[in-house]
């Protein structure tokens, strides 16, 4: 894979939690490459470190060692401030839990990354409404999180993740809390957006069928064993 085609390059990453006897080595010697435009599923047993991996790629956490390049730039040594700015422009997140702010309605939640980027309230709200329409929630813009269903909340979260048109979408079991029907709907939505927006996406999932519908599936193995494509 040439350097120009590469969106994510994680090399020899290690991460451990805890100190002394309670120390758990979660990741060790991990390599992961993701091509631009690829839709990659990350699979593996619970507790193996899938979320940890995604947090590291998404600059929400730091590996203990190893290099991370995003879109050709080495981001291993950036400070908190620079990492925050990159998260804003480069990366969209969707988690298992929606993590919308209770105090804001759907529109303002979606507009949040835009406001953080310094857009005016008017511009941010306009774009947020556009995105809510894209995820089929145009009529729910003024509803607060406690007035929305689980599936709707996740769709708002997807809209928020894509607000800044980031090239990289990271989703950590986005359907983990949803029933079959909503899961299917959300996954289809994500896949559709992935294709239409030309995103590079990494999705952690337990669902074999979903993993099968991705370009490839990456199996994360416990530290010490070999991780790799299925």
């Amino acid at each position: 894979m040439s350097e120009r085609d590469r969106m994510v390059w994680l090399h020899d990453a290690a991460k451990a939690y805890g100190e002394g006897p309670r120390r758990v080595q979660v990741l060790q010697g991990l390599d992961l490459e993701v091509r631009k435009g690829e839709l990659v599923a990350v699979v593996g047993p619970s507790g193996v470190g899938k979320s940890t991996l995604l947090h590291i790629i998404g600059l929400l956490d730091r590996p203990d060692s190893g290099t991370l390049e995003l879109d050709g730039t080495d981001v291993s040594c950036l400070d908190l401030e620079a990492r925050a700015k990159l998260r804003n422009t480069l990366i969209g997140f969707v988690f298992q839990y929606h993590y919308l702010l209770d105090e804001l309605d759907a529109r303002d939640n979606v507009a949040l990354p835009l406001r953080i980027a310094g857009r005016t309230g008017h511009a941010a709200r306009g774009r947020a409404e556009e995105l809510l329409t894209r995820v089929g929630l145009a009529d729910r813009a003024s509803h607060f999180p406690d007035q929305l269903s689980g599936g709707e909340l996740q769709r708002v979260a997807v809209a928020r993740a894509l607000a800044m048109e980031p090239p990289l979408l990271l989703a950590d079991e986005p359907t983990g809390n949803l029933d079959r029907e909503n899961s299917e709907m959300l996954f289809s939505l994500v896949r559709e957006l992935h294709l239409m927006e030309g995103l590079t996406s990494i999705i952690v999932t337990h669902d074999e069928e979903m993993a099968g519908r991705c370009d490839r599936a990456f199996r994360l193995a416990p530290a010490g064993e070999r991780s790799g494509d299925v």
Binding site: H55, G58, L60, D61, R62, L80, E81, A84, K85, L86, R87, N88, T89, F93, F95, Q96, Y97, Y99, L101, D102, E103, L104, D108, L112, P113, R115, I116, A117, G118, R119, T120, G121, R160, M164
Partner: protein, 382 residues
């Protein structure tokens, strides 16, 4: 900045729904407002009393005094007075001679301070002496000097009979009786010649700087002369007043500090409760400095509301109590009959700024530790 402002507004605006956070912020707001209120009222009260005392002092006391550096008599008094009159035309100049004599009435004979002043032609006696001698306006006292005069009958004390014109309040701080008489009467009684022992100056326009003006006007032309201003004449009283002000400011200011510590606890609590939200904001790209700004804005909002409410109510209470004379004092205890309040705008401004500063500090401290974390820690949802 846009996102922070928007969020701060939303957090505060939606507080009504989040009962716990609302209660917590409400309590910090109220306690901070109470601190400001207490500080404004207390300082107004203090200022009321102090300005009454100062006003009284300025009314009753000389604003500057010239006295010989050594000896009992001012050398060159005539020249001195004419220089003062010429150079400081708006300043009242009073020549003074004073000494102790025996004051006698039909009832008693008591040693009394006799003060001759060039600015009076009447004889005034203070309450203390009037009471002891049992005399009042229109009655006579005999004043007997320790100076003797030679007569065919041998040396006899110099004495005069004086008719009392006024009974006046004693000078502040004076405990034995005193008699104020025209200058020439005192000169005759105490010296037998026209000497002057000291000069008192009054300048209601600028009392606190009179001594300096006098020194400049005299420009060292009269050596052996001591010039004392209000600061020197009433050193201990003025020192006590300013000490009192500082001590009370510190003591009540501690209340403000306690209120801010309370705010700090509460902001830290909100930070803990909103840990996930903060991690989400950080995840969406809000920088550490942005997080700090968000907290400072919240603190600023709470601080501003508290300060405006506290300072406003404090001012209102103080002004109302002062205008309506609602708190009366027993007669004769103090020079005024109700508790005086005086609200000084610069004092309210100082208190408000201190309160606001503490509120900002109190919200900035927990924000600092929040901003130092990587967001992953706040996003553990199992």
């Amino acid at each position: 900045m846009r996102a922070e402002l928007h969020l701060a507004r939303r957090y505060l605006g939606r507080l009504r729904r989040r009962t716990h956070v609302a209660t917590v912020s409400g309590i910090s707001l109220v306690s901070l407002a109470l601190g400001v209120l207490a500080l404004v009222i207390t300082l107004s009260l203090l200022e009321g009393f102090q300005s009454t005392i100062r006003r009284e002092l300025l009314q009753r006391s000389a604003h500057a005094r010239l006295a010989p550096a050594s000896g009992r008599v001012l050398p060159d008094a005539k020249a001195l007075v004419s220089v003062l009159r010429a150079k400081l035309p708006n300043v009242a100049v009073t020549e003074i001679v004073s000494g102790t004599c025996l004051a006698r009435s039909f009832a008693d004979a008591i040693p009394a301070l006799v003060e001759g002043r060039s600015n009076t032609h009447r004889v005034a006696i203070d309450h203390i002496l009037a009471a002891r001698l049992g005399v009042g306006p229109g009655e006579q006292v005999e004043v007997i000097s320790s100076r003797r005069r030679l007569t065919p009958l041998g040396p006899v004390p110099v004495r005069v009979r004086l008719e009392i014109a006024d009974v006046v309040a004693p000078e502040p701080g004076r405990e034995s009786g005193a008699l104020t008489v025209p200058l020439d009467v005192a000169q005759r009684l105490l010296w037998g010649k026209p000497v002057v022992q000291s000069i008192e100056l009054r300048d209601p326009a600028d009392p606190w700087h009179l001594a300096r003006q006098v020194r400049q006007a005299l420009a060292g032309r009269f050596p052996g002369l001591r010039v004392d201003g209000l600061q020197q004449l009433h050193r201990s009283l003025l020192l006590a007043l300013s000490m009192e002000r500082i001590m009370i400011f510190v003591a009540v200011g501690l209340m403000l500090v306690v209120a801010s510590l309370n705010l700090l606890c509460n902001v830290a609590m909100i930070a803990a409760e909103k840990r996930t939200d903060l991690a989400v904001l950080s995840g969406l790209g809000l920088t550490p400095s942005g997080l700090r700004r968000l907290f400072v804005l919240l603190g600023l909002a709470i601080g501003t509301i508290a300060t405006v409410v506290g300072a406003g109510m404090g001012t209102l209470v103080a002004v109302t109590l002062d205008r309506t004379h609602a708190l009366t004092l027993p007669r004769g205890v103090f020079i005024v009959s109700s508790v005086p309040f005086r609200v000084r705008p610069e004092m309210v401004a100082t208190v408000s700024l201190v309160a606001l500063g503490l509120a900002i500090l109190a919200s900035w401290l927990p924000a600092r530790s929040v901003a130092r974390r990587d967001p992953a820690e706040g996003l553990r949802y199992e």
